[in-house]
């Protein structure tokens, strides 16, 4: 009782009194996120608002450079011992923020912690192919996977190393509220709903951050984030659309930063039930959608048309697929051939999370070729449920965007196309076989052959229409130098401030 009364009074005081604001702008980087981080323990939630903050507090097993190539971080090198065992050599000069050295024990602890069902980590799925972790010596760790697992490294990009002794001592709940890692920034405080503050780790082993302090504010409304940037309150803002980007371009004090991400937008079709079970109908829909028109008309040209579900930054991407050209006449002919009339109704289900202008544009394009399309909207959780429901409940089509956060074909094509996945609305034995081969081979060239075949089979069967590679837009002060990456990483120590 006394404890919460005290917290109440402190919060009430800070709410009424003047706080902060005295520090010089160059010392403090202010970032406007959409929401406050939902967790600060890197082994729990893995959403952008959490990740952007805690990724700066921790070092991960491996990382990606600005081009997206996997590069060392805690692990300096790695080699395959047999098909299912990889040995990692670790840096010996990493210290956690309390001064204790990071060793193989911490790595083993981190792996075992995240795959332990008792932690209830939503990220477990990304690491549960790892069956064992052993420390050979303080700088060597062996990871054993369930059979050959080509995506191991790509997943380890997301594995933060947490301090075993500290976590064991303070417990999971306390660690989530006051995280401690070995990264370029140290956790200072979280003021619920207001901001999370980090301070530079001046003894960091790698590139040190340019700002003494970094503050992450929760600003849910995109128009307010833009106002914050333009009024000088924020230095960097996330998640803006092309319209707001155009507004920023008119202001000389700020700029727009954009990157083509590993996220690909697609139009999902139900190949197992309803009128879209007819291949001609699916081909007609593919021909009816004008990708370039959507990109130019609604996204100011930032995004890039896609013809497969992979972007050039994915392992498994194959160039040269043409996709289905925009051809309304052909679409009409195919629909006629399939016996679709103005009475055949199609439902297009969506959620407010997705840009509704795009959904409505696609609806209009389909109406233009003579289809009767009704949009059905639910909240995002409802959308997720329906998207993963049985073909009979799914309806005919849905607009969506996919990112596995792993830049590997297995994380995209397997869940979308394999018969065993609840997302797939297609049953194709040939595709299944290629996907299974792709996830069980370690040789990149051999994998690519199988994924090329998947792209060919998917293009013929049209279980979905790939639309575009999604551009992620940020707003920043003119002085900030930063290269956003396709995997939406957020490393403050890779930023620079130039007056």
């Amino acid at each position: 009782m006394a404890r919460w009364l005290m917290r109440f009074s402190i919060a009430a005081l800070t709410a009424t009194l003047f706080v902060g604001g005295a520090l010089a702008a160059k010392d403090v980087l202010v970032v406007d996120l959409v929401q406050e981080p939902s967790s600060l323990d890197p082994h729990l939630q893995w959403n952008p608002d959490s990740y952007f903050v805690y990724r700066n507090v921790f070092d991960n097993m491996v990382t990606r450079d600005d081009e997206g190539k996997i590069t060392p971080q805690v692990a300096t090198s790695w080699r395959q011992i047999d098909d299912s065992t990889t040995e990692f050599t670790l840096r010996s000069d990493i210290k956690f923020h309390d001064g204790t050295p990071l060793t193989a024990d911490d790595v083993v602890f981190s792996v075992k912690r995240i795959i332990d069902p008792a932690l209830k980590s939503p990220q477990r799925d990304q690491f549960n192919k790892i069956v064992d972790a052993t420390a050979v010596n303080p700088t060597t760790v062996q990871l054993k996977t369930e059979g050959p697992y080509p995506v191991l490294l790509a997943q380890l990009v997301k594995l933060s190393i947490v301090p075993k002794a500290h976590v064991t001592q303070v417990g999971n709940d306390k660690f989530n509220q006051e995280p401690m890692g070995s990264g370029p920034y140290k956790f200072v405080s979280i003021q619920r709903g207001v901001k999370t503050t980090l301070a530079r780790n001046d003894t960091y082993w790698g590139t040190k951050g340019p700002f003494a302090t970094a503050e992450f504010h929760a600003v849910p409304d995109p128009a307010t984030r833009v106002a914050d940037l333009r009024s000088g309150k924020a230095d960097l803002i996330v998640t803006i659309n092309a319209d707001l980007a155009a507004e920023l371009k008119k202001d000389a004090r700020v700029k727009v930063l954009s990157v083509l991400s590993e996220r690909v937008a697609y139009f999902h079709l139900n190949a197992l039930a309803g009128p879209t079970a007819d291949l001609r109908v699916r081909k007609a829909i593919a021909h009816a959608i004008d990708r370039q028109g959507i990109i130019d008309g609604l996204m100011a040209g930032y995004d890039k048309p896609a013809t497969t579900m992979l972007s050039p930054v994915h392992v498994g991407y194959v160039e040269g697929f043409k996709g289905y050209a925009y051809d309304p006449a052909k679409a009409k002919a195919l629909l006629k051939e399939a016996g679709i009339t103005a009475d055949t109704s199609f439902t297009l289900f969506t959620a407010p999370t997705f840009d509704q202008r795009i959904v409505q544009a696609i609806q209009q394009m389909l109406i233009d070729v003579g289809m009767k399309v009704t949009i059905v909207t639910s909240d995002f959780a409802g959308w997720l449920k329906r998207a993963q429901s049985s073909p009979a409940e799914f309806g005919e089509m849905s607009f969506s965007r996919w990112s596995c956060g792993c830049q590997d074909a297995d994380g995209v094509l397997f869940p979308l196309y394999h018969s065993s996945s609840q997302w797939a609305k297609l049953r194709d034995g040939a595709i299944d076989k290629e996907l299974e081969a792709g996830r069980s081979l370690l040789d990149p060239a051999a994998r690519l052959t199988h994924y090329k075949r998947v792209h060919e089979l998917a293009e013929a069967a049209v279980p979905l229409v790939p639309l575009y590679q999604v551009a992620i837009l940020y707003g920043a002060r003119k002085e900030l130098r930063w290269t956003p990456t396709p995997n939406e990483s957020f490393f403050i120590n890779r930023m620079k401030w130039e007056e």
């Binding site: 003047f18 893995w46 939503p122 477990r124 799925d125 989530n176 207001v194 849910p220 000088g232 996945s421």
Partner: protein, 308 residues
């Protein structure tokens, strides 16, 4: 008074139980947060495992009884998403909402009441028409729009006010105006009607005939008699301010309960949503009770026991 309070207490308990029951089941009609928490590619097995761990695979009745048992222990539970005790989160956020709603009320009463009185006294003049326009603007501008206009004008263009968040005393000015505008309009309208009604009464003419200054007739007699409808709308309007905070807090990135409610509903963070609703139910009931008691204070003819 004692019997009245007892009756009201029982009524309140029933109302609160009804509210939390309704919210408990309505939320769960649309599913649970498992899918939102997992990465997109999670397999069916992973989904089922997490759902089981979170306890959402149990029958609804069991989950409900569990929740009631938890409440009986004065335990609000832990946030599903943040994994932090709900009480800690609410205690950190509540002062901001109270601060904002209080400031908005100050704007509403401070401007609304005088404007309403002036409109009644200066009926059918140019001044009344100008003030009426002000009231209409306050009444009809949706807060998500007026909020962003205020930010663009005062923060971006003039640079006179912070654009969002809580950085000091000045931060509350714009959100308080945006939130208070509608309430201000309501106060002005109600005050105008109530004062107009009293102005025509005999005691006003009598008081003036006695040679009392018009100013003191207004403040000593008319306002006292016009207070009942104003108290009634106060109970409603304070509850409205708390509801309006949902939008204003989102637009101004104000870290109160309203913003938290929106986020928690979207994230299906049931324990937080349930606790906010529980708190709101308490507040509404308390406000209505306070209004009833206040009636008897300003108007001795009203007896709370219902016995003359």
């Amino acid at each position: 008074m004692g019997r009245f309070l007892l009756r009201r207490l029982i009524q309140s308990a029933v109302a609160i139980l009804g509210t939390i029951t309704l919210v408990f089941f309505i939320q769960r009609l649309a599913g649970d947060p498992t899918l939102l928490m997992l990465p997109e590619g999670a397999t069916r097995q992973d989904i089922e495992t997490l759902r089981h761990q979170l306890g959402f695979d149990r029958p609804l009745a069991i989950q409900y009884l569990d929740y009631l048992a938890q409440l009986a222990r004065f335990d609000l539970g832990q946030s599903l998403v943040q994994r932090v005790p709900v009480l800690d989160i609410i205690v950190a956020r509540l002062p901001y909402t109270l601060y904002l709603a209080g400031s908005a009320l100050l704007v509403a009463v401070g401007i609304g009441l005088p404007v309403g009185i002036v409109m009644a006294v200066r009926r059918d003049t140019k001044l009344e028409r100008v003030l009426m326009a002000l009231v209409l603007v306050g009444q009809s501008m949706p807060t998500f729009w007026s909020g962003i206009l205020l930010i663009l004008l005062f923060a971006v263009t003039l640079g006179a006010m912070p654009s969002s968040g809580v950085d000091g005393l000045r931060s509350v000015v714009l959100p308080a105006i945006a939130l208070g505008a509608l309430t201000m309009a309501t106060y002005a309208r109600v005050a105008r009607t109530a004062v107009l009604e009293e102005l025509g009464r005999d005691y006003v003419s009598a008081a003036q005939a006695k040679g009392l200054l018009f100013r003191s007739v207004i403040s000593r007699h008319i306002l006292r008699n016009a207070a009942t409808p104003i108290i009634t709308i106060s109970a409603l309007e304070i509850a409205n301010l708390l509801a309006g905070a949902v939008i204003v807090e989102t637009v101004f990135a104000w870290p109160g309960l309203g913003q938290l409610a929106v986020q928690s509903i979207a994230a299906r963070d049931f324990p937080i949503v349930q606790s906010i609703v529980l708190l709101s139910a308490f507040v509404s009931i308390a406000l209505n009770l306070a209004a009833d008691i206040l009636y008897s204070v300003v108007d001795p003819r009203i007896r709370l026991d219902g016995v003359a």
